[in-house]
């Protein structure tokens, strides 16, 4: 409308931004494909906002676009921390569409999925360099954590001095080995959980509030 409302609007927008950068941290959920990032993001979002973030799947590269859930308010010990959750595509250094054919995906869809997957990984890397204030690094506890992708990504996160928590996921499975993950990243705190079964979520939320609040 008039000049006055314009100014009022822009002041309140500026104020929003001010407060937003103060309290609203963007937490990126990173990790290799299939680690359970979206399952975790959905559980956090469902627990505190009621709705989900995106589809989960046993087929790798299900998430091919970063997705953000804003204003997730987590209440801990009478205090509340508000964060944005960013679910990112699993990071890898290679994508072969033939891998998707094993999951009964038609060739044409597999080719498209692999192209989208590569775009997704690039996008995840970009977010990591520019747009997140903290990282939850999710690993499947039944897999070997000593991979080059994990080493590189944790190194990239450290080089930016971002606060990071390592989540050892899928502890409901018999082959889960949390100690192996703790040994791989002794410089960081590891929290074990099952995002699927909802095991140990109290500690998960305590740590999120402690690290990113």
């Amino acid at each position: 409308m008039g000049l006055f409302t314009d100014i009022k609007d822009s002041i309140s927008r500026a104020a929003d931004r001010l407060f937003a950068t103060d309290s609203q941290k963007r937490i990126g959920i990173y990790g290799p494909p299939n680690a359970g990032k979206t399952t975790l993001a959905n559980r956090i979002a469902r627990d505190w906002t009621g709705d989900a973030i995106g589809p989960e799947s046993h087929v790798p590269h299900e998430t091919r676009r970063a997705r953000r859930k804003e204003n997730v308010e987590i209440k801990r010990n009478g205090k509340s921390v508000s964060i944005d959750i960013v679910d990112t595509p699993g990071v890898t250094t290679k994508v072969d569409y033939n891998e998707f054919l094993d999951y009964d995906i038609e060739e044409e869809d597999a080719v498209r999925r692999s192209r989208e997957a590569t775009e997704g990984v690039a996008e995840a890397m970009h977010w990591l360099r520019e747009d997140v204030d903290g990282v939850i690094y999710v690993l499947d506890s039944t897999d070997d954590p000593f991979t080059q992708v994990n080493t590189m990504l944790v190194g990239i996160i450290e080089s930016q001095n971002l606060p990071v928590l390592i989540f050892a996921n899928k502890i409901d499975l018999d082959e889960a080995n949390v100690t192996r993950i703790e040994n791989a990243f002794p410089q960081h705190e590891t929290v074990e959980l099952s995002a699927l079964e909802g095991e140990n979520m109290d500690e998960v939320y305590d740590k999120i509030a402690e690290y990113f609040g």
Partner: protein, 128 residues
């Protein structure tokens, strides 16, 4: 820099790139040098590796070059950073970040890591 220039398809070319050579290049030039070699089917060995930021860009650029009927990405191995020599936050502030790590990069469809520990990387390289 030592470069073993090979033959017309009956061998595997290995590019050993010295830290000195890499130091004189901008980040994107380093990434191009690596990926151009890898696209030709070469195994690229960096004496001193890349910085975390360059590694991040290497992944990003690699993704942009993957295509279904040719290149499907890279295999990369480095020796893990020695944890004791990590100066932590202070070390990083003072620019002591450990980036000098031998790095092996090759086309994903041709190189397979057989074994890796803190002192040894064992890889199987096949011809194109």
């Amino acid at each position: 820099m030592a470069e073993i220039t090979a033959s017309d398809g009956d061998g595997v070319q290995i590019d050993l790139i010295s830290g000195e050579r890499m130091d004189s290049l901008a980040s994107m030039e380093k990434i191009r040098l690596i990926l151009d070699g890898v696209h030709e089917g070469n195994i690229v060995i960096l004496e001193e590796g890349l910085s975390p930021d360059e590694e991040s860009k290497l992944i990003e650029v690699t993704m942009g070059e993957i295509n279904p009927d040719g290149f499907n990405g890279i295999e990369i191995e480095t020796y893990p950073k020695s944890k004791t020599s990590d100066g932590g936050f202070l070390g990083r502030l003072m620019g002591k970040q450990e980036t000098k790590k031998l790095t092996v990069i090759g086309p994903a469809n041709q190189i397979e890591t057989l074994h890796k520990d803190e002192t040894l990387i064992s890889a199987l390289v096949s011809r194109q």
